[in-house]
Every structure is written in structure tokens, then in C-alpha cells.
């Protein structure tokens, strides 16, 4: 009898402990890198990012990833050069990880520490502000990751012997939905 009660307790208790997990999924996204050269201003856009967030025990872990070759600047030649310069065939994904307290997710501006893996390198960006807009059952997040070529040891492509600017800020616009 005692065994049965114990088993019953365990069966009831297990899902109760699991209740604290919450998941969010990236529904829509636009990632735009900006490249600057004295003769050119270029924006490369990707809509192929995927992401997932898991909140557990007051902490939220998010992972967002996008294929490097999914960025489209409107010029196939430039895009291929970008993939080559960023070692995009060898390291085909851009990965962004972040972790923050669940309590801050209701603020209109969320400051997050980002870990970005790109071109075989990892860079950390601390205290990056992201605007949060809640619309119905969705949450829109937007902000800019202040990435640079040197953070990822990317040899800056040049045109007419003039290299591009070191800064390649990435504008992030995402729509998250709870699962």
C-alpha cells in the first residue's frame, strides 16, 4: 500500500516540477548587417533566422541562429564574397546566445549580454539594449548588435584597395511567440 502511494506521489509530483519551464519560439525575424565603404553603403538582410527561448527557475536562455549565406545584399557576387570573407562555408551559422532574468522580460527595454558565434570566433557584447513591444500574444524585439569585423577576425574586404569600415552593426527585428 505504501509503495503504491509513493508511486502515485511521484507520478503526480514530476509534472508539477516541470511546470516552471516556459518556451518561446522565434516566429519572424529580420537581421540586417550594414557595411560601409567610401564608395558603397550596403545592407544585407536575412529572414531565415530561427530561435528558441526557455525560461526556467527565473532564468531565460535564448538561442537565435541564422545561416551566413542567407544574407542577401542584392548582389550575388558580393554575397559570395561575404560568405568567403566570413568563412561562411566552414562556419555556416551565426549563433547568438543570451541569458537573463525572467523578471526583466516585462521591461520596455531589455539589456542583455550576448554571446555571438560567427566566422569561427566568439564575441561577447554586454549590456546591449533591445526594445520590447508587446502586441497581443506576440512580443517584438528590436535592437542593434554593435559587431565589428575585428571581433571575428575577419579580414576586411576592400574595393579599389580601400577596405570597408570595421563596424558591421547588425540590426535585429524579431517577433517571438509563446509555445
Amino acid at each position: 500500500m505504501k509503495k503504491i502511494i509513493l508511486i502515485a506521489f511521484v507520478l503526480v509530483a514530476l509534472p508539477v516540477f516541470a511546470q516552471t519551464d516556459a518556451q518561446l519560439v522565434l516566429e519572424q525575424s529580420t537581421l540586417t548587417y550594414h557595411m560601409s565603404h567610401p564608395m558603397h553603403e550596403v545592407n544585407g538582410v536575412s529572414h531565415e533566422a530561427k530561435g528558441k527561448g526557455v525560461c526556467h527557475a527565473g532564468q531565460c536562455d535564448f538561442l537565435i541562429a541564422a545561416p551566413v549565406k542567407s544574407f542577401d545584399s542584392g548582389d550575388s557576387n558580393r554575397d559570395l564574397h561575404m560568405v568567403e570573407a566570413t568563412r561562411g562555408a566552414q562556419f555556416p551559422m551565426v549563433l547568438v546566445r543570451t541569458r537573463f532574468a525572467e523578471a526583466v522580460t516585462t521591461a520596455p527595454i531589455i539589456y542583455v549580454d550576448l554571446e555571438v558565434q560567427f566566422a569561427g570566433q566568439t564575441a561577447h557584447y554586454n549590456h546591449v539594449p533591445f526594445q520590447r513591444i508587446s502586441q497581443g500574444n506576440k512580443v517584438q524585439i528590436s535592437g542593434t548588435v554593435p559587431a565589428t569585423c575585428s571581433d571575428f577576425k575577419i579580414d576586411r574586404p576592400s574595393f579599389l584597395t580601400v577596405p570597408i569600415k570595421n563596424d558591421i552593426p547588425v540590426r535585429v527585428e524579431m517577433t517571438w511567440r509563446s509555445m
Binding site: D61, L63, G88, T106, S134, Q135, G143
Partner: protein, 275 residues
């Protein structure tokens, strides 16, 4: 005694049933509470809210801090080997999602060292193509400039002024140099590795289309030049198709110049702008 044993058995069965029924019930409760704790989920925000606030500027990256791994942005070199099938799977907290959770296909996430090598070779060859192409423009311009000095002057019925041998030789030499450099430049474009599945898009399309003008032009112009040279050497005024040598040269040069401009179009001059 039998009645007592029977009661115990029934009690066990009822207890087990209650326990099993309670499991799915608590699972349903779990999904409801999951939604409840999410910010901006239906449970918390039934009506759209506009909590839009102007963002403060993002922190500037600090190269020095990056190198030293300071409190700001830090960079670590964790170069992975190309043989690793899934890149960037590093240590992460227990419940953190992994790349495998996101639903990318293995083709998307798998490293391709062969493709990287192909891209490297392609970039190298196209850089040579670009450099040689720009250099080729110099003898091409010089050939155009020396063209009129290498031409016999005089109308029909009037005495014809032959070009000096020096002018003629200079023009021929520059033309030969231009032709040689042009086809060397073309070689680096034609034999650069082609990436499968990539359709030309943007400025590169017009750059390639113009090849159909300056390519044949660079074959035709020297041939017409040779014909014109032979006619002049024979004491004849240049005639027939050879008389189009100059026209062919100008059209070819114009297409070539346009080809250089289009590959870098649109141009935004910002040499004087804020860096």
C-alpha cells in the same frame, strides 16, 4: 478475513486509478501556468500595448577590452576544425536550447571545407581579375589616344599623309599589350570556380552582359587593325571593313569602361564623409 482482504485490494486499485488520472490533469495545469508566466503572452497581455521607448545607443565595442577579455566586449579565439559536423555547440546552461532544437537541416549547419576552399580560390581569382582589369584600362586608354596619330590623313584626291613609323609602332605595341592583358583578365573571370545554385543578381549581371560587347570587340578590333595596317603598308587608303577599326575600338573601350563602373554600382562617394 476474506472481506477485509477484498477491501484492501479494492482500496489499492482505487488509489492507483486516482493517481493515474491525476497525472494528465496536472499536465494540463502545467501548460496553463506556462503561458501565465510569459511576458506578453495572452494570459498577461490580452490587449495590445505599446510600450515603445526610444532605445539608448548600443555600447561601442572596445578593441582593447576585446583583446584582454575585459568587462566589456571580449573576443575569444575558439577556432573550430572544419571536420566538426555541427559548429558552435559549446557549453551552455542545462536548460538552454541547442542548435539542434531550432530545426535547421544538417546541410545548413554542416561545415563544408571543400566549398570554403572553392570560395577562397574564387575570391583570389576575381581579385586578380579586378586588379588586372583596372590596369588594362591604362594601355587601353593610351591605345585610343595614339590611334589618330597612327592613321593616314588626307581625303580622296588629295595627298595622303602617312603616319610616322614611331607613332604606328607605339600604337601597335599598346594595342598588343591591351589585347594580351585583356585576355589574361578574362581568363581569371572565366576560370574562377562557379558556385552551384547561385544565380547572378545585381550589378554583376550588367557587368557580365557587357562582356558580350567588349569581348567580341577585343577580338574584332585587333583584326581590323591588322587589316588597316596591311592596307596602309600597301600604299592604300584604309577601306572596307578595316575602316571600322577605330569605331570598333571606341565601342569596345566604352563597353569596357561601363563594365568597370557597373560592377561597382551604385556608388556613394563618402571619402569626405564622417568615418
Amino acid at each position: 478475513m476474506n472481506i477485509r482482504a477484498g477491501r484492501t485490494t479494492w482500496m489499492r486499485v482505487i488509489s492507483l486509478c486516482c493517481s493515474l488520472i491525476s497525472v494528465p490533469l496536472s499536465c494540463i495545469a502545467q501548460t496553463q501556468s506556462t503561458a501565465a508566466i510569459l511576458p506578453g503572452t495572452p494570459a498577461m497581455a490580452t490587449a495590445p500595448s505599446s510600450e515603445s521607448v526610444d532605445l539608448p545607443s548600443a555600447p561601442e565595442p572596445n578593441d582593447q577590452m576585446a583583446q584582454t577579455g575585459g568587462a566589456g566586449q571580449s573576443t575569444q579565439t575558439d577556432q573550430q576544425q572544419p571536420s566538426q559536423p555541427n559548429q558552435q555547440e559549446q557549453t551552455k546552461p542545462g536548460n538552454a536550447p541547442s542548435l539542434g532544437d531550432l530545426g535547421f537541416t544538417p546541410q545548413q549547419t554542416q561545415a563544408d571545407a571543400q566549398m570554403q576552399a572553392m570560395l577562397n580560390k574564387r575570391t583570389h581569382m576575381l581579385k586578380v581579375h579586378q586588379t588586372l582589369g583596372l590596369i588594362t584600362a591604362i594601355p587601353m586608354a593610351a591605345t585610343l589616344i595614339t590611334g589618330p596619330q597612327a592613321k593616314a590623313k588626307g581625303k580622296n584626291g588629295q595627298p595622303i599623309t602617312e603616319p610616322t613609323a614611331a607613332n604606328l609602332d607605339l600604337h601597335i605595341a599598346l594595342g598588343g599589350l591591351t589585347t594580351g592583358m585583356y585576355f589574361t583578365t578574362a581568363y581569371y573571370s572565366i576560370f574562377a570556380p562557379k558556385i552551384p545554385g547561385v544565380k547572378p543578381k545585381g550589378a554583376i549581371r550588367l557587368h557580365r552582359d557587357l562582356e558580350w560587347i567588349h569581348g567580341p570587340g577585343m577580338i574584332l578590333t585587333p583584326l581590323l587593325g591588322i587589316m588597316a595596317y596591311k592596307q596602309e603598308n600597301a600604299g592604300e587608303k584604309v577601306h572596307g571593313i578595316a575602316s571600322y577599326h577605330g569605331t570598333a575600338a571606341y565601342v569596345t573601350a566604352a563597353a569596357y569602361g561601363a563594365s568597370i563602373v557597373t560592377v561597382s554600382w551604385p556608388i556613394h562617394w563618402k571619402f569626405w564623409g564622417k568615418q
